[in-house]
Amino acid sequence: MYSDPSVARFVQDNFVPVRVHVRDQREVFQRLGNRYSATWTPTILIVDEGGEEQYRVEGFLLTDQFLAHLTLGLGKAAFKAGAFEEAEKWFRQVAETYPDSEVAPEAAYWAGVSKYKATGDAAALAETAARFERQYKDTSWATRASVWRSTKAG
């Protein structure tokens, strides 16, 4: 997955990259694998500066799907840190750059939540619900957003 230049660039620009080989670095793998319950390869974790896991990818993915997951993970990490504007930026990047990816509906949902958390304006939730009536209608994320349809601004 990392041989693709776009993946390498994205990883280098947005993360501190750590790689542990499960056989060649047995001691390190034993320590970190146990700590994070990594029982399969590839397992890719996004870990915040406090060492807390924020997102997990298990199994091989093609380039665009992998980038979509990593971008979603950056959004989740920013959201957890309370950086809602940054989180919204990452979530919208998933939905706009990888609209057909498996995580795009989830990203669209959290983009709306992040905007609401950043602004306090419930119109962000109503807009998100309206978007799900046009796009990703048959996903569980559309169901989750459906309760916001009648949400009023402010």
Binding site: V16, P17, V18, V20, D24, I44, L45, V47
Partner: protein, 37 residues
């Protein structure tokens, strides 16, 4: 290396990576791999 290509500067020192994460204000990508390195 061709122009525009980039390789990832992997480390296996997780504790040092957490320090760098705090300095750079970006998360750690922790990859458990069985592929040849």
């Amino acid at each position: 290396m061709a122009i525009g290509q980039m390789t990832i500067a992997w480390t296996s020192d997780f504790d040092k990576a957490l320090d760098q994460a705090r300095e750079k204000r970006r998360p750690v990508l922790l990859d458990f791999s069985a592929a040849p390195m």
